[in-house]
Symmetry: C2
Subunit: 383 residues, 2 copies
C-alpha cells in the first residue's frame, strides 16, 4: 500500500507549507521526521484517556527510543470537556513540567484532542509548533488539516480559538482498526461532504468504497483519506482564514452544529453533519440555488453509508433554529449558509462570498419537509 503525501500551501501565511502523510504505519517514521518538521528540545504528546493507553504510550516509547525527550499529557475524552477550563488545566500542567518555548506539541487523537492540543499549542508562550496525529477517520479526513483550533463555550461550539496551522499531519490508517464502527461511519459524512462540494466522481467512488472502508481495507481507507485531504487542502490553500471559498467546507455545519448542541453533543459529529447537509440542500433547492434532486441524492448516499438522513423525532426543530442563531457564521443578525449548486460543486454566490444570509422561515420549512426517505415529505423533493 502506498503512502500518500499532500501539501497544503498557505501562500499568504508565515508557515507556508506543511505535509499531510497518509497510510498504514505512517507513524512509524515519526521519530525520524520530527527534527525536520518541528525541531524541539521536548515533545509534549497530548492525548485523551481513550487514546493514550491504546496508542499514546507505545508512540511515546518509540519516540524516546529514537532519542527524543517526550512528556505526556492526558486530557478527558469527549466534546463536553473541550472547554476553556480544561485548556487552562492543560497549559498549567505544561507549565508545571517546566516546558519552555523550545517545545513542540504532538496532538494524538480525534477532533477534540486536535482542537484542544492545537489551541494549547497556539497559546502556550504565544505559540508552539504542533504536529497533528489524527486517530479517527473524522479527524483524518477533516479536522487535522486546516489549522482550526479551539474550544466550546456555553454559547456554542468552537467560539473561542485560533488559526494555528500544524507543521505536519500524519494519518496512520492502521489506527482505524481499533475504531468503533459508528465512529468510522461518522467520518464518512465529511468525505461525502468533500465529494458534494468539489468532486462528483469522488462521491460516486465513496459509495462503492464504503463496505471496504468499514471492513478494514487499508487501500480504500488510505485512498479515501488522501482524496479528502487533497480537496480540503486545495480549499484551505486558497483561503486559509475563511474570507470566502473556505466557507464551502461549512456546508451542512450550520444546522449540523445546531443539532449537536440540541442533543447535548450525544450525537456523533458526522451524523449531525449528514442531517445538516440534507437540510441545507433542501434550503438551497427552495432558494433555487441548488439543482432539484440534490437533497434526495444526499439522503440516498447517507443511507448507503449507514448514516441518519432525517432529524430524529425527539429533536425539536425550533430548538435547532434557536441554536443556529448563535452560530459564529452569523453576520448582521442573519445566519449565513454555504450552499451547493449541484452535486460536486458549491455555489460561490453572486458576490463571490461563498455563503449567504438565509431567512429563518425558510430553514424552518426545510426542517419541516424532512420526512422519511420515500414519504410524502421526502418524495415532494423528487421530480
Amino acid at each position: 500500500v502506498s503512502t500518500h503525501e499532500v501539501w497544503v500551501d498557505l501562500s499568504a501565511s508565515r508557515e507556508r507549507r506543511y505535509p499531510v502523510r497518509v497510510g498504514p504505519d505512517a507513524l512509524m517514521s515519526l521519530a525520524r521526521d520530527l527534527p525536520r518538521w518541528a525541531p524541539a528540545h521536548t515533545y509534549a504528546l497530548i492525548s485523551d484517556r481513550t487514546v493514550m493507553p491504546r496508542h499514546g504510550e507505545k508512540l511515546a516509547g518509540e519516540l524516546r527510543g529514537g532519542g527524543h525527550r517526550v512528556e505526556t499529557f492526558t486530557i478527558p475524552s469527549g466534546e463536553e470537556h473541550k472547554t476553556r477550563a480544561e485548556w487552562a488545566r492543560l497549559t498549567d500542567a505544561m507549565l508545571a513540567r517546566e516546558l519552555g518555548r523550545d517545545t513542540a506539541v504532538l496532538a494524538l487523537g480525534g477532533g477534540v484532542v486536535g482542537d484542544m492540543a492545537g489551541f494549547a499549542a497556539a497559546t502556550f508562550m504565544r505559540g508552539l509548533p504542533v504536529v497533528q496525529l489524527p486517530t479517527t477517520l473524522l479527524a483524518m479526513v477533516d479536522a487535522s488539516v486546516g489549522g482550526k483550533t479551539g474550544v466550546d463555550t456555553a454559547a456554542g461550539k468552537n467560539l473561542v480559538g485560533a488559526f494555528h496551522p500544524p507543521r505536519a499531519v500524519v494519518a496512520d490508517t492502521r489506527l482505524l482498526d481499533s475504531l468503533p464502527e459508528d465512529q468510522l461511519r461518522s467520518g464518512l459524512a465529511e468525505a461525502i461532504k468533500h465529494g458534494l462540494i468539489a468532486d462528483a466522481d469522488y462521491l460516486e467512488w465513496t459509495e462503492t468504497a464504503f463496505p471496504r472502508i468499514i471492513a478494514g481495507d487499508d487501500e480504500a481507507r488510505s485512498a479515501l483519506v488522501a482524496r479528502s485531504v487533497e480537496i480540503k487542502a486545495g480549499v484551505v490553500s486558497r483561503d486559509e482564514r475563511e474570507g470566502g471559498e473556505r466557507k464551502i467546507l461549512n456546508f451542512g455545519h450550520t444546522v449540523g452544529h445546531a443539532v449537536e448542541a440540541v442533543t447535548g453533543y450525544s450525537m456523533l459529529h458526522g451524523c449531525a453533519v449528514g442531517i445538516g447537509m440534507v437540510v441545507e440542500a433542501e434550503v438551497g433547492e427552495r432558494l433555487g440555488v441548488t439543482e432539484p434532486g440534490v437533497t434526495r441524492r444526499i439522503r440516498e448516499v447517507l443511507a448507503g453509508a449507514g448514516l441518519p438522513h432525517t432529524l430524529p423525532a425527539d429533536v425539536d426543530p425550533e430548538r435547532v433554529l434557536a441554536a443556529a442563531r448563535s452560530d459564529k457564521k452569523s453576520r448582521q443578525g442573519l445566519v449565513e449558509y454555504a450552499l451547493l449548486r449541484r452535486v460536486g460543486s458549491a455555489d460561490p454566490g453572486e458576490d463571490g462570498r461563498w455563503s449567504r444570509p438565509v431567512p429563518e422561515s425558510l430553514v424552518r420549512e426545510a426542517l419541516g419537509a424532512l420526512g422519511p426517505l420515500g414519504s410524502p415529505g421526502g418524495a415532494r423533493i423528487a421530480p
Copy 2:
C-alpha cells in the same frame, strides 16, 4: 504639532503592514479611519474601570456620532486581573451581546488592557481585527506595537497568549495629561531601553527631554513616542516571532519580570525593567560582552528620570533568581539573557541568536554588586 505615522512591515506575515499614528488629538479622526483600517459591523470598545469613565465613554459617543455601532466592555484594572479567568469572562460577555465575526476590537488603555483585549481579539471566533489605542506612555512606546498579547498565570507573566498584530495603533499624546507622574516615569524606562539597544543619540536626547515630557510638552512627548515606536517597529518588522533579533527588546526584562513577580506586581513595570537593565548590564560586563562603564551610565540615566536603579532592600535576591528560572525565555533549563554590547547597540552573539544562556551564579553576583550609586559596589564597576 505634527502627527507622526510609522509603518510596521511584517513581510513574512499575513497582515503585512499597519500604521502607528502618534500625536496630540490623534484619536479625533478615528471614526473616519476605522472603516479603512478595520471595517466591521460592530466595534467592541474594551477598556478598564479607570480609563472607561475617563476617556472611553467620550470616545464611544464620538464613534457613534460618526455612524458606528459600538458595544463597550469594562474589565478590572491592574495586572492581577490579567488572567485566563477574566479573559473567559470577557469573551462570554462578548458572546452574550451576540457579537459575530464581523466585529472589530478597540483596545483602549494601558498594557493590561492591550494584552487582554488583544488576546480576546486573537481568540474570539478564532480572531477579530484589533486596533490598539494606548493611554499610558508605557503602552504607547512599547506594548501597543508588536502584536504580543496574552495573560498571566500563577507560574509567571504572559505565559499564555498569542501573536496578533493590530490593524492600526493610535497614540493620542493628549491622553497623557491625565496620567499620574509615576506612570509617566515608568514609560520612560522603555524609551531608555530603546536608546540603549539601538540609538545612543536618542538616549542622550531623552535625558534632555525628560523634564519637558513630565511637564506636559506635547512636542517632546510625540517625538519620544514616535522615535521609540520607530526603533521597535524596525526590530519587529525584521523578526516578528522573536526567532532572533526581537530578543533584544527583552533587555532588562528577564530580571525585570522576576522583580515584578517577587513584589507581587506592586512595582510599576518600568521601574522593574530599569532595575533589570542595570542587573543585566552588570551581567554583560562580567561576561566581557558589554563594554565596561555601561552599567554605571544606565544607572545615571535612570536616576535622571527619577527611576530606581538598584534592588529595593526588602527584595530578596534569591527570590528574584527563583522567579527568573520560570521565565519563558529559558531554553534547555538555562535562563537566556539579551545583552548589550555598548550604549546604543545590542549584542547579536556569536551564533546570531541575540540572547545567551547565563549561569545563575553570575546573575547572583551581579545582583549582589548593586550598592547605591557611588558606593563601593557601584564604584567597583567604574574605571
